[in-house]
Amino acid sequence: MKKICFLICSYLCWTQAMGQQNPPVTGTIGVSYEGYHLWKEPSAWNGMNARRPANQFRFNINPVFHLGKNFTLPVNFNFLTNPVSFAGPYSGLKDQSLVQWISNPANSFGINPKYKWAELQLGTQYLKYSDLSTGDIGIFGAGIDLRPGAYRMKFFTGYSQQGINYYTGPPIVPGAYQRNHWMVQLGRESEGQYALLFNLAKGKDQLQSVSPALPGTPGEEGFVASLVGDVYSGKWFWRSEIARSYFTKDLSQPKTSTLDNSFKPFIEGRNSTMQDWAGKATMGRKSEKFDLSYTTRYTGAGFQTTGYPYLQQDKWDNTVNTRLALWKKKMNIVGSVGLRVNNLSKTTLKTKQFIGNANWTTQFNERLTMNLGYNNFGFTTASGTNPYGVKNVSTDISLSSSYNLPREKMMHMFSNSLNYSLYDERDVNTGLTTTNKSFTAMLAYTPAFFSSSLSPDISLVYFNNALPGFTNKLFTITTGLGFDAFKSKANFKTDLQYTLGKLSGYSANKNLQASLHMKYQLTKKLAWNVFLSGNHFRYGDELMPSAPDGTRYRETNYRTGLQYKF
């Protein structure tokens, strides 16, 4: 902690010194603290757990140095003092080595010095080469991004996670192998005209990075090659990518010659290696008043990359999207309709998913604006071994409007929304469909005073969810007040929210929330932020008998921070 404070102070002194020489520096630098406390009664009740770290310091150091006309040095240092993950390989890991802390996904340390068309990429980088090769994962390493004219030459290598040993807990640390990555992009691109880019990306787990080997977690290796081809001609456009992946799910399995799944020298096939295709293409026309496009996207059942770890496979999406602007752009209609088909590989049950949505917004005049929205999702599968297949249909209709009523000294602003939602689920054994109906209504009023910074508001929300034999009702009233103080250097926002919840057959639960936010502009460039909130929730008797009537919890959350804008 002392080291970090020393580093920050040194950095601030240095930037101050740099400031005296008047170099152009843009960007921001900030530090913040967040505290959180959860109290519950009975204390042993496990229905509510802390959802923020008890104490957390966050540092955001993001200046961009401009030295001369052609040289820039962006710095991106964003880190926490106490990163704790709950998903992915770092979940549960508390005592981290310095290298693990630096490469923890919650932290990033990157600098990208750039001279004209040449950029050096150092530290943590989230590099998106394309939609099907690599892009989601932060990698700590080094690389280059060269763009002489229309040519593109990129290379990067590093690791996305450190080796983490398995720990039986509590909490259980599943562990992870160190995963190394390499990626290359070559091609030509001219923004708004064309792109022809060839991508190679590889990731491989280092089995020797942990000891002993992780139980139940095999080491993996993946390689993907993709070709991006985009063409823009006037109002018409074509964007496409085709990719082939090779992915080994278990590096401990023997190499194979009976299966044709190698792509040497990039990857050697094993019993657990699969190789498949993915592709996407969008074609359409774009103009000021009318857009129309068709998108198709196929991901093979064996397509997998280390650059997109949560990419879902074995699906083919087809969607048509449109946008229409009428009445001098005061009326906008946006809509899309599509169909997703799964299991083109025939390795599982065939599923179909219908997607349709439309949104219509019209500004009738300076006072009245209305919006109508419609969403529909349908999901069906074959019956398989069950008497009936899955059939889920979700339909949502919403209507919202806002009305402004100007007066001499103030403006009355009203807004409301209504939402009706149906969700049908078919039981695969009986064939009976259960309909889940939800209705939400919101009404808000905000008076705005022309000669005062006071901005009060009040809103009401009613929610009703009904299933056969069961209802869940919520009623919320919220009041807020915003105002300026200290010669308008400080802006305050306060809020009080009370919610009454009622499950059929049980007594009501009650929730009270209060919060305050202050932004104090200490100098033209330095702002001080404070956020305080309290949340008290008291259950009715709906938790009985596992928890007593009146079980309750209270959360307090406080944040404060300084943000300097260069």
């Binding site: 802390a50 998903a87 992915g88 923890n104 059942a301 949560y310 929300v461 929610f463 809020d495």
Partner: protein, 276 residues
Amino acid sequence: MKILFIGLLCICQATAFAQIATVLNLNKPSATLSEWARNTSTIVYIATNPDPMPRQVIIRTELKTTDGATVATKDLSQAEVFQLRDGNTIFSAKEVLPLHQMNFSGSYKSTLERTGKLPAGAYLLEVQLLNPTTLAPVSALQTRSFFLTAIQLPNLLMPVDKDSIDVLVASTVITFRWTPVTPRTAEQVYYRLQVFEILPFQQPLQALRGNQPLLDVEVRNQQQYYWRPQLALKTDTLPKKFIWTIQAMNGDRVPMGTDANAEARAEPFMFIIRKK
């Protein structure tokens, strides 16, 4: 003397041709064939050598469809020779069905190369011990039928990716919907719904992999959840971005990840809470 010699010869011959008793068990075979070798309980093949002398054998394995079409046969010229000692010897999928020694036929080979799986359907596994020299059977043919189908993880439905939700409604309730794990079985499925806030300066997946979830709840056998955020959103700095995902788990809370990823998490979606 002559009678004694003939008697000994008869005993030796009887021993040489004595059948080796075998038992074949198949336990919840994964749709991904390479996973069979990782789990020693998927195939349990027990060979009992009745002789005091060790005997050498190879394992002949054949995969068929239930209507008799051949899916894969083991290349016996590559088959490993095992020495059976007196008593029981237990083999697992690693020895019985080594994929690098199996010759898959036609479309089954191309599907396996592409997906690591076989087409969904009913199959037969036939296993027999052979003499490595003569390839004569030394045990009875064991056959087990099984059904293969891959699991499809949930797809997220609502809020749709990059959807905007009005802060006044979101302060009261946010509805999440997703598709079920398919195929549906009698086994309980627990859907773990997690919502993470994407802090300023964070990438969406960085938030998922690095932050503490604001919501971490298990929903049994249902594909809908109403979340009351209780986050004092209205006074906080807006817009606020969130990323959410569903993790599918079985009754033992083990992720059902065989298809898309080992964590069995659905491809995450983002939503934004803003003042509309």
